[in-house]
């Protein structure tokens, strides 16, 4: 990857707890989160997945989704994200993050487009 490639930042406190997304205080210990860990080059494991066929305005249909678990220095951190495909995917499978510039159409749904980011990482079966 190049230096300006988008990163998939999890956040870590001084006690080694890792969360995605970051929080003002570490949900485990209350300490400040002081560093980020890029998950974009790592392989995660599917905790569970679904295919949603009743999707809101501006969301692809069907929408394959998974909760994926990464292990960072022995600490577990999870992320929910779209799957590039649900073909052959099952619990326990390895997946890799793939960047997408727009995960759903900003402004098509109820949330104010400027209020949040719309890019992020999908998961591709490894």
């Amino acid at each position: 990857m190049t230096d300006d490639a988008p990163s998939f930042d999890a956040h870590r406190c001084e006690n080694g707890h890792v969360t995605y997304p970051g929080h003002t205080r570490c949900p485990d210990c209350g300490a400040e989160q002081t560093e980020t860990v890029d998950l974009s080059d790592r392989t995660g494991t599917v905790v569970t997945w679904t295919t949603s066929t009743a999707t809101p305005p501006g969301v692809r249909e069907p929408n394959h989704l998974a909760i994926v678990e990464f292990t960072v220095d022995g600490e577990s951190v999870r992320a929910l994200g779209q799957l590039t495909t649900a073909d052959g995917v099952d619990i326990g499978d390895d997946v890799e993050p793939v960047y997408a510039a727009e995960l759903r159409e900003p402004g098509a749904g109820i949330r104010e487009p400027d209020s949040q980011a719309w890019d992020g990482f999908r998961f591709e079966p490894a």
Binding site: T19, Y20, P21, P27, V47, T48, W49, T50, T51, S52, T53, A54, T55, P56, P57, G58, V59, R60, N63, L65, A66, I67, R78, A79, L80, G81, Q82, A86, I91, L103, R104, G109, I110, R111, S115, Q116, A117, W118, D119, G120
Partner: protein, 333 residues
């Protein structure tokens, strides 16, 4: 209620007080997404318990059916964290994710989820206030269109217009008006993570565990004392999670109770005698109030064909995907 997104009308309590000739009574809205009704019970109970009020009217309501399913789903999904919302997550998709994990983890058959829908639809046929008064068979449930794999259409509650009301007062005041009342013996509320994927065990709803612990302690009761329960079956899988997290059954065993008929109307612990959200419908702000109303009717012997033998009842109202939960225990005086 939701915060006005469905109709673009805010300040509704003010309008209601005016229409009911209740001026200058103080009003407030309680917003706790799908758990607004239960949160309203908590707030109404607090207003009386604190001595600030000796008569509090709680009204839960929502008007939703003028929106398309996609729009209504998005209004509800707007409670999610930005990192989940951007992926197009919906509450039904959280249910699909959780159901797959539950079935895999506890080796439960897909049919067991369908049996929740069959049971609650059957109960709903005897509820004059239910949105659906129609039985469904297991085959229909299992062959209905996929909404969030492995969950299908009949695993989900409908989109509903509806309302419900309860009056709260000290017991001494109630006795001035009527012999027909029930006592709130325990009430508790709790919050879980905003980001759903951050929960250590996706098949446990921490807010259900914590809120019920508070309510049980206040009532000096335990799960074994509950005779009838109304659970937040917005999705069939939630009835399993709550029946376990409330302590009725061991973790991973809730599905067996449904298979064995324990939670049927004539079982040891009838669950959702009203038909549940599944059949009664789920007008967000009204649901928690309507749950307590069903328990109220059961405790007073007013439930007609739905009547079970009960002196202690419990209602569990879930907001978000377990993000905020209230548990209320009601008893005969």
């Amino acid at each position: 209620m939701a915060s006005g997104e469905f109709e673009g009308q805010t300040g509704v309590p003010n309008a209601l007080a005016h229409d009911l000739n209740a001026l200058p009574a103080y009003t407030q809205r309680v917003d706790q997404t799908s758990a607004s009704g239960g949160a309203g019970i908590y707030a109404a109970w607090q207003s009386v318990a604190s001595g600030a009020s000796d008569l509090t009217l709680l009204v839960g309501g929502e008007k939703m059916t003028h929106k398309t399913t996609g729009e209504a789903t998005d209004v509800i999904a707007s409670l999610t964290h930005p990192v989940e919302y951007k992926h197009g997550v919906t509450l039904p998709s959280f249910a699909g994710l959780t159901a797959r994990k539950y079935l895999d983890e506890y080796d439960a058959p897909r049919e067991s989820l369908g049996k929740v829908a069959v049971k609650n639809h059957r109960n709903g046929t005897d509820n004059p206030h239910a949105q659906f008064r129609k039985e469904v068979d297991l085959e229909t449930v299992l062959e209905s269109p996929v909404v969030a794999d492995p969950l299908r259409l009949y695993d989900f509650c409908p989109i509903t217009d509806g309302s419900a009301g309860l009056v709260f007062c000290p017991e001494s005041v109630a006795q001035e008006y009527t012999d027909d009342y029930v006592v709130v013996s325990g009430v508790g509320g709790a919050t879980d993570t905003h980001v759903v994927h951050e929960r250590e065990d996706p098949t446990t709803m921490g807010g259900v565990v914590e809120s019920s612990n508070v309510a049980y302690e206040m009532a000096d009761r335990g799960p074994e004392d509950v005779d009838v329960a109304e659970l937040h079956d917005m999705f069939t899988i939630l009835e399993f999670l709550q029946s376990e997290d409330l302590g009725f059954f061991e973790k991973g065993e809730g599905w067996k109770a449904v298979e064995e008929g324990v939670t049927d109307r004539d079982g040891d612990l009838p669950i959702n005698t009203s038909g549940g959200l599944k059949s009664k419908g789920h007008p967000l702000g009204a649901s928690g109030v309507a749950q307590a109303y069903e328990i109220y009717q059961q405790l007073l012997g007013d439930a007609g064909a739905r009547q079970v033998d009960a002196t202690v009842g419990l209602a569990c109202n879930v907001g978000g995907f377990g993000n905020c939960v209230t548990t209320t225990i009601l008893e005969q005086p």
